[in-house]
Symmetry: C2
Subunit: 207 residues, 2 copies
Amino acid sequence: MRIGELSTATGIPVPTIKYYLREGLLAPGELTSPNQASYGEAHIRRLRLIRALVDLAQVPVAQVKEIVASLDADDVSLHDQIGRAHRALTPSRKPTASPEARAAAAVEVEALIARRKWTVEPEAPALATLIETVAALRTLGQDNLVAFLDAYAEAVDTFAQLEVQAVSAPTRDQLAESVVVGTILGETLISSLRLLAQESISAERWR
Amino acid sequence: MRIGELSTATGIPVPTIKYYLREGLLAPGELTSPNQASYGEAHIRRLRLIRALVDLAQVPVAQVKEIVASLDADDVSLHDQIGRAHRALTPSRKPTASPEARAAAAVEVEALIARRKWTVEPEAPALATLIETVAALRTLGQDNLVAFLDAYAEAVDTFAQLEVQAVSAPTRDQLAESVVVGTILGETLISSLRLLAQESISAERWR
């Protein structure tokens, strides 16, 4: 199909598609003449993925580019795919805690990881975020919330087990896509559900 | 204390503190001479909160300003405080789904809310995000993940009940702060824990 038809099929304006082509997020179509390219089903599928990551999950374009590049690489393991999706979800943050608060939080988080028997790389970006968050909550006097760390961890462990079981697809390419979408949009899903649950409880209790 | 001491106590550089003062995120100190102001414990506490929201949770400064303004208003109910924290967590997003996919997802989400007996305003920003996410997952063929909606919803309901019970503080001001911090940093906590749990399961299974 031509670029105009690709636009109609996906609802994405032609200039936006051209931008994704220029940025290397979308593979070029097959040239049918010097000025015309033809696109297929794989382009529709990829455009839907790009749109969900950019507009819905609000992942920066540079990171979406890295993610789709990894989807097209044959030599990237599923474990590495997950690692790339994780980096897209954990922007580097300025450290906010004092060195003492961070050291104490690191000890707490290490103990939690040992209790859960999790295998986690020391340089996992989510590990730094978790330690900073625990340190910030302690500094702000929100010890009540830190007391739920184990309850939170147990619940997310259940999620993650379900999510990994849910990842299934007929081909290796689609499996990798499923891992990326599940990781990133799963977070949007959990976040919006949590806010709705809170709103409901708050409406009963505090309105 | 003077602004330099405030900086030492919080680890926040003086120019950053001056920026927060100019932007109205931090209340002015008490003038002790035309060129000098004095700051107290309340300023330290507020600066720590601002830093956690801006640098750790990455809430845009304009929304942090709205949140801290609501903390200082006596006539804002706790339910409204939660609403403001929720808006900070749910940026407005470009719609990505087709009208048909969105309509179908809205029916699914309505049914879920009815099953959970949640009381949710039709204009809750998290509701729109949830509907768009379900529509995107269906469009991308990730029906396996949508199948977990009820399991996710049940887990977040448990979180939210715990979180609302955990909110306790000696004064009304601190209660409001606790609600805001719990809502916003609780999300950072859950998100980083989920990524660590996924990494661990993925390492066992796919590395």
